[in-house]
Symmetry: C2
Subunit: 338 residues, 2 copies
């Protein structure tokens, strides 16, 4: 399956196909210096498969985990490009999940003010969501994605076969973003989760999720308005993730929990919980609602009027931006997830 992100001169193709990892060199020029950025969680055979297609491949393997999205690792990646004499005509290829894609993408955006970026996502989360849209970033001083660039890849090649080597919980975690896509914009995708087997339909799930995101990004590349609907579940999810900083919940799991209170119809909320149970996503959590709201107030930088913007789903397939007072938010947050 193929999609084209239409952004004028920054347009690019997104290929979702089993086995495409072996054919990336047929889709984009790899006959040059290519910095192949991956992490210790990516099976070595994938790295070998890519390097075999590169004219001059230079592998960089980061430690797995969010800690790699640092200024220091960013400097190391760029340093490798300097050391190997990369020029403006060379390329960076990300092979891994969201951390690898975000870091490698920002390095590609800034090395010599921009070289070609090729993204080969190998996790559910990155294939379904983070590999498209052009957001690249690193973390700084404990704040996620504070530093980065809007920078579109030249190609996204997602090989669903790579998902087979993911640990089960990691695989399921990424599906939360697809459930999100269904709730806010694609009834049929949501119903597919209710009625069909996920593994058998993974290509369609990825495809439909990306279609939703592509439509939003094409209308609002640099997040000046509409694109905020993609944050459905993320405002509260991010607060849960931070409150839960010992790390026993994954990002997608927190987003899944964060969506629930933002679903207005109790009947839809029940259906979403049933999907979570089927997939193995958490559907209930205990938290301190006041602490969560305090985090959101700080995180979303509520203005002098004390209001914050959240995304809510009035019914299946729809999303709406709401400006809420802290009291309104607190009522929603306290009611929703238990």
């Amino acid at each position: 399956m193929k999609l084209t992100m239409r952004l004028g001169v920054r347009s690019y193709d997104i290929i979702i196909k089993r086995g495409v990892l072996k054919r990336v060199g047929q889709l984009v020029n790899l006959n040059r210096r290519v910095l192949v950025v991956s992490d210790t969680g990516v099976p070595k055979k994938y790295i070998k498969t890519i390097l075999a297609q590169c004219g001059q491949g230079v592998p960089v393997v980061l430690p797995q985990g969010e800690e790699s999205k640092s200024l220091a690792r960013y400097g190391e990646v760029l340093g490798a490009m300097v050391e190997h004499g990369f020029t403006r005509g060379d390329a960076v290829l990300a092979l891994g999940g969201g951390v690898v894609g975000d870091l490698a993408g920002f390095a590609a955006a800034s090395y010599m003010r921009g070289v070609a970026f090729i993204n080969c996502p190998t996790t559910t989360l990155s294939q379904i969501d983070s590999s498209i849209g052009g957001k690249t970033a690193i973390n700084l001083n404990g704040v996620k994605n504070t530093v980065g660039a809007f920078y579109q890849p030249a190609l996204v090649a997602a090989d669903p076969d790579t998902l087979k080597t993911l640990p089960e919980r990691h695989f399921v975690n990424g599906l939360a973003e697809a459930v999100k896509a269904g709730i806010i914009a694609d009834e049929a995708l949501f119903e597919l989760f209710e009625t069909e087997d996920v593994c058998e339909n993974i290509e369609e799930i990825i495809y439909r999720s990306l279609v939703m995101k592509k439509n939003v990004v094409e209308q609002d590349e640099r997040e000046s308005g509409l694109r905020a609907v993609l944050n459905f579940g993320h405002t509260l999810g991010h607060a849960i993730e931070s409150a839960n900083h010992l790390g026993d919940l994954y990002h997608g799991e927190c987003v899944a929990l964060g969506m629930l209170p933002m679903i207005e119809q109790p009947s839809l909320r029940r259906r979403v919980r049933a999907v979570y149970k089927k997939l193995g996503l958490p559907s209930r959590i205990r938290y301190d609602g006041d602490a969560i709201c305090e985090f959101i107030r700080h995180d979303k930088k509520a203005g002098a009027d004390g209001m914050v913007t959240v995304v809510r789903a009035p019914r299946l397939g729809e999303a709406r931006l709401d400006r809420l007072t802290m009291d309104e938010l607190r009522a929603i947050v306290k009611e929703g997830v238990r």
Copy 2:
């Protein structure tokens, strides 16, 4: 005097006016968090003048010099923004020369993927050249400007009064870029250097230099072709700067020397030398031509064919891109500067 850089949604005004430093807040919104980046060479009174106009001004003073264009300083500048809770609606203001502008501009380009950037250049070099055009960068592993972004400011406010506090040699150094503008594109500007007093005409010199650069940048924002003519004098100048790494020559002085062999008419070369003498720029240097050519071959990443592109001036007011063999380049380099 006012110029408008016309780049669609990224258009911005360039104001060249004595005393404008006191009125920046009337030209752009400073009633927000503003990171005021300067260095130890910038008189404190200028910093105070700017801070007095800011809603919440946060001053950052870097050590003066090229060493500040580092990944570490970049991290410090961004860290200050995190610490003071900067949001997407806040701004970065550069107050200083090219180093400050390049670093602060890259920080503005990448903090939260881009906040407003205001450039108040206070040196001849930055007022005449580096403050416009949207190139921002830091150095990495000894390579200049390896990492950065094309990022246009929201406003450039150049106050020629600030040039009065520059050391004489520093003031003259920056004029080399204006002489360059005259040679490659503006006969009248060049003749102004021959016949008039520079200090009395500094506003017109800055203005005409910026008009030339603006015309080129508007046609080629991201340096895909034409913009290369702005490198006139820089290919050889950069080699001289590197060969001369103990630092007894300034950037503009090296560019001045680097232009001479690229001027084809001996009569024009004599006129340019006379201007250099009038201004106080160096007009002769001894160097090892073979070593200089070797540096250029490496610096310009000569292809398998061993050819490099240089900019030459066939006559006053014109520039041309030439593909040269190393032998051709060597003949030019050896002949020209002694």
